[in-house]
């Protein structure tokens, strides 16, 4: 394409407008929230998760049945039959109540598991990153060896030693999945340690609390939060997986995983038994993943505009 001189017009230089601050100044968090709000998938995810959480708390009270209350006269009822909104299972227990009890357990496992992974990750990764050098080297070697052991083997063996139970499941899952979090924490700390802006801020006279709050935390915590948001659906998935293997939470407690596993056996005759837990699991995992993706984009300091 030909460019001719007369296509351009000199508009001169205006020194005052060159120094105008173009964007409103926001803190890191305000900017991140603003970016997150613009992401439709993330917003939908938040709404879904809010719905699931509210129902997890209030759902079981919305029907007059207890979650382990059996009614052997009305087994495998279809949804809508005889006052059971979502039907009943093979022992006549109301599915609506059980689904939301399941929500409590599954979400609890997800959140607690992720939280434990966070703690262990911060401690292990923090020490490795902060000390650096030999300590870091050894710690990472150990992790490498641990990683080669198939996680399934470890999970199953842990559960068999500790016996069935809610706590066992949580521990087994977090004990096999803390390593990525530790890696991220370590990476972040190593990165920030070398940064010059920390030195610069100190030189300008920033107080330690300002240093930590305004500089260290925003740069370290982003990937950690993102990883946390992905740990949760992972935990939910493994809980369901273990339930299918017969190693989930014991009866009469119900988690989405155990409900799905039970429903699986009768899928041909009574599909509603597996359909609802399966939808619940998928919705939850999908939402957490979308939220995680959105958070990853929103919290990336390099994308600040």
């Amino acid at each position: 394409m030909e460019l001719r001189k007369d296509q351009f017009e000199i508009i001169g230089k205006d020194l005052s407008s060159a120094q105008k601050i173009v964007r409103p100044s926001m803190t890191y968090w305000q900017d991140a929230w603003r970016r997150l709000k613009k992401n439709p998938a993330a917003i939908i995810a938040i709404i879904i998760l809010a719905f699931l959480s509210i129902m997890a708390v209030f759902g079981p009270y919305m029907q007059p049945y207890g979650f382990s209350e059996q009614n052997l006269m009305l087994t495998n009822a279809r949804p809508g039959q005889e006052g059971h909104v979502l039907g009943t299972d093979a022992l006549g227990r109301d599915m609506f109540v059980r689904i939301w009890i399941g929500a409590r357990i599954s979400l609890l496992i997800g959140l607690t598991g992720a939280f434990i992974e966070l703690i262990i990750g911060i401690i292990y990764g923090g020490i490795a990153g902060f000390k650096g050098g030999m300590v870091d080297n050894i710690m990472m070697r150990i992790v490498d060896v641990l990683l080669v052991i198939p996680e399934l083997v470890l999970m199953i063996l842990l559960i068999m030693i500790m016996g069935p139970g809610l706590l066992t499941v949580i521990i087994a899952i977090s004990a096999t999945h803390w390593i990525p979090m530790a890696r991220i924490v370590r990476g972040q700390i190593l990165q920030v340690k070398e940064q010059e802006f920390v030195l610069a801020a100190k030189t300008l006279g920033a107080s330690p609390s300002r240093l930590i709050a305004r500089h260290l935390v925003p740069n370290v915590i982003g990937p950690i939060i993102v990883r946390l948001t992905f740990s949760i659906p992972g935990a939910i998935f493994f809980e369901a997986f273990l339930s299918y293997l017969g190693m989930g939470v014991p009866q009469p407690l119900a988690s989405w995983g155990t409900l799905a596993a039970e429903g699986q056996r009768a899928i041909i005759a009574h599909p509603h038994l597996i359909m609802f837990p399966a939808i619940a699991i998928s919705l939850a995992m999908l939402s957490f993943n979308m939220l995680g993706d959105g958070l990853r984009d929103a919290l990336d300091p390099r994308l600040r505009k």
Binding site: P150, L152, V153, L157, G163, F237, Y244, Q264, A278, S282
Partner: protein, 301 residues
């Protein structure tokens, strides 16, 4: 060479760990037997060597393992663990290999097509597939498929493993997660490669598009994807357990689940050790393959 050594050490760790943990499990392996007189129980314990000190038991275990004897199953009175593994493994291996092959090929193809049609139809489709594959657990998909295609529409058989038609649903369900990840990786890898200068050079040289795509773009983009193959094979193996249970495929997974429910220790530890070894070996193979196909690594070594 170092990799081989690490693999061997890991196998040893896995096996020993399995054995230790089996010992730590509370409960008597014979508690499922109905009313066994104490004397007979003692005799059984002697037979299985359970009354010897732990170190000796470990020594015997390792010696047996090395010679390939996994011991007798507690549950199936007349079959050795070897037999069970030998019978079940081919099915699982068949399912697993098909799933990995299918997953890899489809995943790569989807990734390539998506990258070549950046932000257009195929790209959006592959992103959707990626999201679904990662979010919806394999067994949910399996159950869904089983119900819609098997029961409602009756086009595919619901269970078992007796012919090609039987393989379609299980393989698909098992590979979906892999397809999603591989496609995602391949897509971003391809996009990276396409933006590289040497591609510009190739286009400037006037090479036909097909040649560019095949000889340059795909070859370079595939490398990072191979690195995730290893962990994914392990994942497919574990996923196979659930798929086998759902589709009633007589593979190792089904026996494994059963043995856990029945507390059949020798079978559990046998299969665990076996699977552990397989996973480590597969990781090693993938590592070596990657070393072979990446010319940069070859030059370094």
């Amino acid at each position: 060479m170092k990799r081989l050594l690490t693999a061997v050490v890991t196998v040893w760790v896995v096996v020993t760990l399995t054995w230790f943990m089996m010992q730590a499990i509370p409960g008597d392996p014979f508690q499922n037997e109905k009313r066994v007189i104490p004397e007979i129980k003692e005799a059984l314990r002697k037979y299985y060597g359970l009354d010897k000190p732990l170190i000796e038991q470990y020594g015997i275990y390792m010696k047996n393992l090395v010679t390939g004897k996994f011991g007798m199953s507690f549950q199936y009175k007349n079959r050795t663990v070897n037999d069970i593994i030998k019978n079940g493994f081919p099915y699982s291996a068949d399912l697993g290999m098909r799933a990995v092959a299918f997953g890899f090929i489809i995943g790569i193809s989807l990734g390539i097509v998506a990258a070549l049609n950046h932000n257009k139809g195929w790209d959006r489709f592959s992103i959707m597939v990626a999201i679904i594959g990662v979010s919806i657990p394999g067994f949910v998909i399996a159950a869904l498929l089983q119900w819609t295609l098997g029961v409602k529409l009756k086009i595919l058989p619901v269970a078992q493993w007796k012919g090609f038609m039987y393989t379609i649903m299980p393989v698909f369900a098992l590979s979906l997660g892999m397809i999603a990840q591989v496609a995602r990786f391949m897509r971003s890898s391809m996009l990276d490669v396409i933006g590289q200068d040497y591609i510009k050079t190739a286009k400037a040289k006037g090479l036909p598009t097909l040649r560019i795509v095949w000889n340059h773009e795909i070859r370079n983009a595939i490398l990072p994807v191979v690195t995730i193959l290893g962990p994914w094979i392990a994942f497919v193996i574990t996923g196979a357990f659930v798929v086998e249970t759902i589709f009633a495929i007589p593979g190792l997974g089904k026996f494994y689940v059963q043995s856990i429910n029945m507390q059949d220790y020798t079978l559990i530890s046998g299969i665990t050790a076996f699977l552990g070894v397989i996973m480590v070996v597969m990781n090693l193979v993938v590592d070596i393959v990657y070393g072979l196909i990446d010319p940069r690594i070859r030059l370094d070594e």
